[in-house]
Symmetry: D2
Subunit: 359 residues, 4 copies
């Protein structure tokens, strides 16, 4: 009810404030007997952590995790897996001056209206630091999906006005991690890094777009009415901090196409049912059809900027503010593992939900 849980059978609950003692997650419903690689979890946390490259926030969090329950001798027990990351690099004094100010396009005002109280230290639970928990849980979901050969790969396809113009199917997605911007196309990657450096110099910030591709998803996942596979993916993505848009397959472009252009005829491919084209993005009627699932997610620019801004305080007085603290000029590269994690959580859940579809 309070929206701190996600999923139905494979279900996570996250907790923790940005500058509280820890961020954590409970993963309930993971089947027993799954081998867990702890290194794979740390690898995903490292992809998300601040301070990993020259274009990210210098907040220095090693983000080492600890598992308190649910895994015994490297195997899941079928009981809740609890996973904790201590908050180490807390400097709450950076934030006390902001306790009464409503920062533009932050959640300060809306939380105060909702709860009558807020934790001013680094945005409290409104901070994207909460996504540490999602990435950790997603790393376990990925290991479950790997049993079924399902892979999830995301990359940065736009930063500000710089666009990677190449279709995903012509990219080598294994190159994504080779660039600090997480764009497998070297040419646009270089321009994106330049754009971020320029924004930082100007005390400004940038948004962007991430593209995500799911391969080897078996046909039959997704519930056909409200919990369509792409509706759950869309909600998962829109629940990530700073996301303002989601589209699957042709997305908004589909609105301007003719039915005769957009339809994907079925055909036999290697003795399996497939489609000749894939405008649908691998999902029809809310259910996966076995083709690649691909979707795009739009991120707004980071709200915290170093330029002077006008706003008000909680007494209604006009104030002028200028961000201090340690912030990314563009979060999109660090959001790549978050996108993958949320996609993995959706897929793992629907994989388990599908287990009882038929006699």
């Amino acid at each position: 009810m309070s929206g701190n849980s996600f999923g139905t059978i494979f279900r996570i609950t996250t907790f923790g404030e940005s500058h509280g003692k820890a961020i954590g997650v409970i993963i309930d419903g993971c089947p027993a007997g799954l081998n867990i690689s702890l290194a794979e979890i740390q690898k995903e946390l490292d992809r998300r952590r601040p301070g990993q490259s020259s274009i990210t926030s210098p907040r220095n969090e090693a983000d080492q995790f600890e598992i308190l329950s649910g895994i015994y001798q490297n195997k899941t027990l079928g009981t809740p897996i609890s996973l904790l990351v201590q908050n180490k690099d807390q400097k709450p004094e950076d934030y006390t001056s902001l306790a009464t100010i409503y920062r533009p396009s932050h959640a300060d005002y809306t939380w105060e209206k909702k709860f009558g109280i807020r934790d001013p230290r680094g945005g409290g639970r409104a901070s994207a630091r909460e996504t540490v928990a999602r990435v950790a849980a997603g790393a376990i979901a990925k290991q479950l999906l790997a049993q079924y050969k399902i892979s999830i790969q995301a990359y940065v396809s736009a930063v500000g006005k710089v666009i990677n113009p190449i279709p995903y199917s012509d990219l080598d997605l294994n190159n994504t991690e080779n660039s600090i911007i997480r764009n497998p196309d070297a040419e646009s990657a270089t321009k994106m890094i330049e754009a971020i450096n320029l924004a930082r110099e100007q005390g400004d910030s940038l948004g962007g777009v991430i593209t995500c591709i799911i391969k080897n998803c078996p046909p039959g996942l997704g519930e056909p009415v409200f919990d369509k596979l792409h509706a759950d993916l869309g909600k998962a993505m829109l629940s990530i901090n700073a996301v303002k848009g989601f589209e699957i397959g042709e997305g908004f472009q589909a609105g301007s196409m003719l039915g005769s252009e957009h339809n994907d005829p079925f055909e036999m491919k290697n003795n399996k049912v497939g489609t000749t084209t894939n405008h649908s993005g691998g999902i029809q009627g809310g259910i996966s059809n076995g083709e690649d699932i691909y979707f795009r997610i739009a991120f707004k620019p980071v709200a915290t900027i170093a330029q002077k801004q006008n706003s008000i305080d909680n007494a209604g007085n006009a104030v002028s503010l200028e961000a201090k603290g340690r912030h990314d000029p563009c979060v999109v590269p660090r959001a790549v593992p978050i996108v993958e994690a949320m996609a993995a959580l959706v897929l793992a859940d629907h994989m388990l939900r599908a287990a009882t579809n038929k006699i």
Copy 2:
């Protein structure tokens, strides 16, 4: 789990196949003591029903509803409200020839993979006829929201390549219902109707875009982590048949903006906290801030077209098919009340969820 329910406190469950006996909905969690206008429910169903204008399907369903429970002397009892619409104009013989064929970009193949069985009559439960139930339930949610002066208005902002270029704030949304296309801008409305008529003549179909605006939403609605208000709105919209994209506020455009352009400074407006601009679309950190909430939804073109198409049957044989039956060349105008209904369901639920946020 099976995804036929939507909402948490204000929760609906829909049922029914396109050519079964009836489509219906159970609305659970509507507070007791709410006065219900049956005429308002019928009005919304009439906006959705086929055969309402020259540009919609000639399937002739009066879509008259019956309430079986939950309302006594025109007031809600606090018990489940059950509402039924009989399917009258059933012509299942139109569909028997399709029982073994996988129509392109329809859900025939994916349902069969999921359930091992499907109802071939008009798509069964995959048909958009299921949205009758949503519109009826949404009409009750709207009456609950009206108690708080919250209004929801959607309109068609694009059909195929024809776009209504005027920002919503410069339109008179009360004109929406005056045109059969549900676009309050007369100039682009005319072109949209022409485009639809052309598509029909060519045996083709068109997609489009709907814009939806929620006014007078109080600040404080939405749960801050997974159930962000726009994440729930996004899921609601993506669960509507044929929807391929959702964006809120600046949406995908936000990805190419600078933080200094996109941020919405707070200011006092008539002694209330407001924002100078509204790039955020009325939601910050997943919680409403009191400004207008606006979002856009992309619809793919209708999959059923009168042109000859290639596909396969369930034995893997190549087939050629040509749609008969009664279909809309463009469903977007009829989707306007569906979009409003789903938005109303999300808002009603979050309104009730907010009741226990603080002591």
Copy 3:
């Protein structure tokens, strides 16, 4: 949230008021491809219906059901099954005089405090007529369980002070339906009927106890912490009108036993793991162990009696009332199919939940 739904994967939602148009149920999550016998459903409804014998209420309801969705060519589609029973023998005029009176040990007062409004016609939704919906849904759950050879049989083991003293394992449960009291022991059955007839003559009512036995439940059903199999069975039973107690295995008797008396040692039986005794009632740590599951449910006497009673009206005035209308002096025999139905719903749900316990 409003408590009109039961179950998680196999999930039902009931609706309808006692003297409204209909009572119904939506069954969501039943796997696709299950053959459904409509006759089996009617048989269960007939076991529950009023007017079936000399010791039950003369309210005359045929309780014929109609299925609106979810079943096609006698097979489940995997979509919501909706099932409706019209209320035919409505005599709301019997009840109008009660609209302002709080009947002793009825829900009139508590509903009014909760909802601020109530349907006075026959108790509205507080009436045990709601259990028609449970029995219908349970009849489908039983057909699912029959696939796994799981059987559920309940019988009346006490009425007022008359007790059937024979352990269930020494009874032939196939005799249960041979007596109108649903007690397979002829001797105590006769005394129970006499007790009921005497209570009716005196304008009084009686409670009783039902014993229920589940055979062939496979080991491994039940979730070990909050959703223990017997905790869910207990809730299911306590949710039936007039139930005041539930005990499993030795139940309250276990409280006075020694560990050395109560423990059930494991042993091999026909090459399968079993227990030498079964004081536990077939469940250990909340999970079935393969032995018979047996439990007892206590019913209070019917609140509606023909004797004059004192109470107050909703203005606080003292009133004297004497029941008219058509009521059972003892509902326990008619509750037997309700108990079985609720048990079947719990088992069907846990059977599906167990599908994802391990890799």
Copy 4:
């Protein structure tokens, strides 16, 4: 789905194995702005902890807790409260010999059938050590209920064959904590302690009964159909380790009463609606009526006994076992705070659920 969560709006999720790193709980949905006394939480944990008196297990756990999130400056933030208790006195070597043996009336066999794997260290998550988490969460629920003057008090009313014969209303419940057995009647308390000491000497164990009373519950709590207040209380109690029975009001005794004896007439008491008698136990139609809510819970004797027992191992071989380790001969006194905690969780949840019952 996996049953590690309890509640709907006020919802807890527990995690942790008996001899893992920690036991913990996430409390989600607690309203913001509630003052929290940490001392009250510790007090409840101390009532539950082993080693507190001569009649409890010598396992020595201080059970000091740590709060990781959700509370800031002693006030709830409206975000998830996470609370952890480290497991300090772990001696897993006590248990390795049991890894392949199915102990009688323990959950070893059933867990293995369910999950295919189990944590043999002290029963893993099947251990009643999990209830540390419930007591901690219940201590927060109690603080929420205290805002509404609702109090919950339980006591031991039977141990083995020793019964406290005095009705709760004639006892001074404030004396409960004065005896190590938690029975406010000194005479039967002494006999209970003697019975426990005798059982220990004989290497045996005892069960018992706890009675719980809720005072000042406002009328109107409880959902009328499946989530009746006593059905949720019953499930809560039956989910506690070793519980085999639950009864409310007259309970099983009600089955042998006449309607004219059992009915509770309404009357005005101090200008408020009340009932002359309270056979119903404060709940009618599943909804509280403002009178005392009282119920009884039966506990089986502890399964671990020091006597030699026969059983089998997981290869089906007969084995003889004799418990070592540190165990209580009777857990009932330590279960008193667990019963109160579970009751508090049910009440807190229904208090919040009632917030949206009417317009």
